[in-house]
């Protein structure tokens, strides 16, 4: 049974012969090719090669066609800032005030060199791995994208505005970000992605209240997922347990949980409707050694692997640059060790 079958089986709530494992390795290809992060991300050939080397080295179940999620701001004229030892972040914001909305034309991913490169990366990875490894694309969800276009503070401020001011702006903004998100995800799927991950950090309980989630975030994510012609993985990035009962409505089959989410409880609440992925602490991981990593993974597997509906992974959008090799190996190895003891114990 190869990676893809294992993933499909677990998503159907059946226990595969081995639990699928997807460490989110985005930056690490640069290390393999001994390039700077900026240089690595500047050519799709580098990323295809980097992802190939990573999957050969660790033996996990997927390859990632996107470099990071920050690239989405380029479609709006936003700029990226690169760093030596971490992912890029937004440099210049695309919008200075809400009045800029009247001036903008419909953004398109084809105006962004980085996003176009991502499509080529996905095509390249698909030609190498289609049908064997999960090919993963990603985008920022429509409700969270404004925080990267104008800033989190003005976005929060708008959510608290009086209805008369808020509603027209909010509708306009979400309409723009939803259209971009849908066309961008569909393009990735056409290029060969098996799934797209929608990163929706602002929609988490870390950032908003339950009634705000229900009123603003839920309707737009539902519409978006409905319009995407492929499988969507939902990634709230922050804490989502308080809203877990609402998740089956969104139309996604898999949610990535944060380490603070009680994964066992979430799995029980979602079982049969949505699978769960996660939720190793992706910051503590920096000071783990292989023994600690193994111990954490086995504890997690014991809790949530039985019965399928689970993919082992880290929480959050990526494994940090400084994470040691032995820890990544241990995460991937843990599913084999767990399977052996499980078979031995009958």
């Amino acid at each position: 049974m190869d990676s893809l079958d294992r993933i499909l089986k677990t998503l159907c709530f059946k226990e595969p012969e081995m639990v699928p494992v997807l460490p989110v390795l985005l930056l690490q290809g640069a290390k393999e090719l001994k390039l700077s992060i900026r240089e690595y991300f500047s050519k799709h050939e580098n990323i295809i090669e980097g992802q190939t080397l990573l999957v050969q080295k660790y033996g996990h179940d997927g390859v990632y066609g996107f470099p990071h999620v920050v690239e989405d701001v380029e479609a709006f004229g936003g700029e990226l800032m690169y760093f030596e030892s971490g992912p890029p972040s937004v440099g210049k914001m695309a919008w200075r005030s809400w009045s800029d909305l009247d001036k903008i034309k419909m953004p398109s991913f084809s105006s962004s060199p980085t996003m176009m490169r991502t499509l080529k990366t996905i095509e390249g990875l698909a030609s190498r791995f289609k049908g064997q490894k999960l090919i993963v694309g990603a985008a920022i969800a429509p409700f969270s994208l404004p925080s990267m276009l104008i800033g989190t503070e003005p976005w929060f401020e708008l959510l608290w505005e009086d209805e008369l001011i808020r509603e027209p702006i909010l509708n306009k903004v979400l309409n723009i970000t939803k259209n971009l998100c849908v066309s961008w995800c569909n393009a990735q799927i056409q290029a060969g992605a098996d799934v797209v991950v929608l990163a929706d950090g602002i929609a988490s309980a870390t950032c908003i209240m339950r009634n705000q989630f229900e009123k603003y975030a839920l309707p737009v994510i539902k519409d978006t997922i409905h319009a995407i012609e492929g499988t969507v993985v939902y990634e709230p990035v922050g804490h989502i347990e308080p809203f877990v009962d609402l998740l089956p409505q969104i139309g996604s089959g898999l949610v990535i949980l944060e380490h603070k989410d009680n994964i066992k409880k979430c799995k029980e609440a979602l079982y049969g409707k949505m699978s769960v992925m996660g939720n190793l602490n992706n910051i503590e991981i920096l000071r783990w050694d292989k023994e600690i990593a193994l111990q954490k993974c086995l504890a997690l597997l014991n809790q949530v692997a039985p019965g399928g509906g689970f993919i082992l992974s880290t929480q959050g959008p990526e494994i940090p640059w400084g994470t040691s090799d032995e820890v990544i190996h241990a995460i991937v190895e843990s599913v084999k060790i767990w399977q052996k003891t499980r078979s031995a114990n009958g």
Binding site: M81, F83, E84, S85, G86, P87, S89, V90, G91, G151, T152, E153, F156, E157, L159, W160, A205, T206, C207, I208, M209, Q212, H239, H259, K260, N281, N282, I283, E284, L286, R287, P320, W321, G322
Partner: protein, 276 residues
């Protein structure tokens, strides 16, 4: 001893429930030749009146302020910005002095907001609104005070080098200011050298640094080293921001002296470090 002094001693001993002393003072007044009628009116009745008034006013104050404070807290949690402002305007109309509004209505509510934050039972957008609303109200209250309240210490604040995120830093700054610190906010992406320059220039004992991303947090290591090189061993470094909330040991690994999960907890750390 003159009768005013006798009275004040008598009242004090009653208040502190030292009844034998109170009895002794009456005896002393009698010995000094004060007539019994005077003793009754000028000492006993007057003291009892004052005791009663003080008990009544205490009762009124605690009941009233705690319920106002609870209402203020409820407005903040429900993100009812206008409700919070109206409540404070009414308190002002009812002749409650600005410093009482600040210390007895707003502060306990903010303490409770801090407790919710520690339990992670409040979202960042609520914290944002609570902080913003309180800051606006505070500005108004301070403008109504006869003199600006005395600051309890000067601290430095900034986002780590390469970090262009501001919201976490601003929230921490607002809490520190609210609880009486003078905050010098150096803004986004502050080079380590600038932190040190200001620490020297302004004679600062605590630097607060905010970082949302791990690789910008890494600059704190260099900042600690620079402080040591410049013989600023006494300057404490407090780090915070999302990565520090995921790994409670991260601050130590980066050579910092402390961390806190949110602004109100940062205030306690500042007070502890400055011995306030």
């Amino acid at each position: 001893m003159d009768s005013e002094l006798l009275y004040s001693k008598f009242y004090q001993s009653l208040k502190e429930e030292r009844y034998l002393d109170a009895k002794g003072i009456i005896y002393q007044a009698h010995q000094q030749g004060m007539p019994a009628g005077h003793i009754l009116v000028k000492l006993v009745n007057r003291a009892l009146d004052q005791m009663q008034k003080s008990i009544q006013s205490q009762a009124v104050q605690t009941v009233d302020f705690s319920s106002e404070s609870k209402k203020y807290f409820e407005c903040l949690v429900a993100a009812d910005r206008n409700g919070a402002k109206q409540l404070i305007d009414e308190a002002l109309k009812n002749q409650i002095v600005p410093s009482d509004i600040m210390h007895k209505i707003i502060t306990p509510a903010m303490d409770d907001i801090g407790r919710l934050q520690s339990k992670e039972e409040i979202s960042l957008s609520q914290i944002y609104l609570a902080s913003k609303t309180t800051e606006e109200i505070l500005e108004k209250l301070i403008s109504l005070m006869p003199s600006k309240p005395q600051g309890i210490g000067k601290v430095l604040l900034g986002s780590a080098f390469g970090d262009y995120h501001s919201m976490g830093r601003k929230l921490v700054g607002a809490s520190l200011r609210f609880y009486g610190f003078d905050v010098i906010d150096l803004g986004m992406s502050v080079p380590n050298e600038k932190f040190v320059e200001y620490a020297l220039k302004e004679n600062i004992n605590i630097i607060f640094v905010s970082a949302l991303l791990l690789h910008t947090a890494e600059h704190l290591k260099g900042l600690k080293q620079l402080l040591i090189e410049k013989k600023l061993h006494h300057v404490k470094l407090v780090a915070g921001g999302a990565p520090f909330n995921f790994d409670k040991e991260l601050y130590r690994r980066l050579g910092c002296d402390a961390t806190a999960p949110h602004g109100i907890a940062a205030v306690q750390i500042a007070k502890d470090l400055l011995g306030k």
